[in-house]
Amino acid sequence: MHRFANPTRFMKVADRLFPFVSAGFLALLAWGLYGALLASPEDYQQGSTVRIMYIHVPSAYLAVMIYGVLAACSASVLIWKHPLADLIARASAPVGLVFTVLCLATGSLWGKPMWGTWWDWDARMTSVLILFFLYLGYIALLNAFDDPARGSKPAAILALVGVVNLPVIKFSVDWWNTLHQPASLLRFDGPAMPASMLQPLLVMMAAFTFFYLMVLVIRLRAEFAAARIRTLRITGASE
């Protein structure tokens, strides 16, 4: 594992994987969209609006998953001062923010025809909204200092403090009786969904994950170049 802790070596591997990740994303996306829009049946209650699920659930999953990545990277920034973890956290946060927005927006578009309202202050929605605010705070804190490197550790502490929100998001639908439907994917007794819907959903989730990986590599390249620019500026100025 520590072989890849060296940022340069890690980037070499990431660059080699990049074409495969991109191709994988496109293939999975095509397969997932075919399944979501054409092959999957309508829901007997929700009709065609159930097709929004194939966007909504993967974005929700990605929003939470990226926050998990952020928290794990933050922990290793604080404990081991890991430079690569810092770069991954920096590169991931805006992507997580976008998928939180997408999750909220598609949820809204699904809620209007099904519940008759764009928004409801129930526990699930409120906790995802807090996730959105946490991402905003994280990014703001990261960029709030004159020295760009100075923001990593405060932001890492904030990310770890915000982890308490993740179980609240997961269990909000079980703890409170709310408008949002209970979990149908991650349950102890297996997914409560016909295979014809489950299969495209899982494909779409994989496609979204590959999208994150693909963008992560690009953003890491950008962060790497930015870090090298900073050191060059410092050494250049002192020469």
């Binding site: 605010f133 946490l134 403090v161």
Partner: protein
């Protein structure tokens, strides 16, 4: 332990000497509360419905407004560095400062809260849950606020940044505080909600000073 109490005494004395600050926070609390009857109209039923929520939100904002007093002054004049280098464990120092902060800000707000609630025509059944909730909740607000204040030390636009960091973390406290009142006014048992608030306080009491202490340490690096 003596050092712990002398730190609290020092912070309280500082707060008393700058009592204009405290007066301003309390004035904000009252003035902002009086905006609501003007905004939604003087209808007693409507005001009674929103009274508890208004008191809670304003208490939350008032606690947040003076957070910069907590570490920022000591950070700028270098006192914080001396405190950190001292023999006291930093977590205890943070805890002491938060306690002093709560005594000088949270407690006056707590005393003022029933007056505001009365002006807003809060139901009688709601006073006890409101005050119990604030008693358990304002220390949590101060503790979480300490984390935000420590994180934004040395940042650009620290005050605005602090609001962005702290307000989302305040939401659970607000939710439990207000649902207790909702339960009390609709004839349900409100005490379980207080247990939640107590649990949050019990969790924040060790965790928040720990996070704030590590944030202060890296700010002084």
């Amino acid at each position: 332990m003596a050092a712990f109490f002398s730190l609290i005494r020092r912070d309280l004395q500082l707060a008393l000497r700058q009592s204009a600050d405290l007066a301003m926070v309390l004035a904000f609390f009252v003035i902002a509360a009086s905006l609501f009857p003007l905004a939604v109209g003087p209808d007693k039923v409507v005001l009674g419905r929103i009274a508890a929520g208004v008191v809670w939100v304003l208490a939350l904002l008032s606690v947040m407004m003076s957070l910069d007093r907590l570490f920022h002054n000591d950070y700028q004049d270098g006192a914080l560095e001396l405190i950190v280098l001292g023999p006291q464990p930093l977590i205890l120092v943070v805890l002491g400062k938060v306690l002093a902060y709560w005594l000088s800000t949270g407690l006056p707000l707590l005393i003022l809260a029933p007056v505001i609630a009365m002006m807003l025509n809060l139901e009688e059944a709601a006073y006890l849950p409101l005050m119990t909730g604030l008693l358990l909740g304002t220390p949590v607000l101060a503790l979480i606020g300490a984390v935000g204040a420590a994180l934004s030390l040395g940042a650009r636009r620290a005050g605005l940044l602090m609001a962005l960091l702290v307000l989302p973390l305040y939401m659970p406290v607000l939710i439990f505080g207000v649902t207790a009142i909702e339960a009390a006014t609709t004839g349900f048992n409100w005490q379980p909600h207080m247990l939640y608030l107590g649990a949050i306080l019990a969790a924040a009491l060790p965790l928040a000073p720990w996070a704030a202490a590590s944030a202060i340490r890296q700010a002084l690096d």
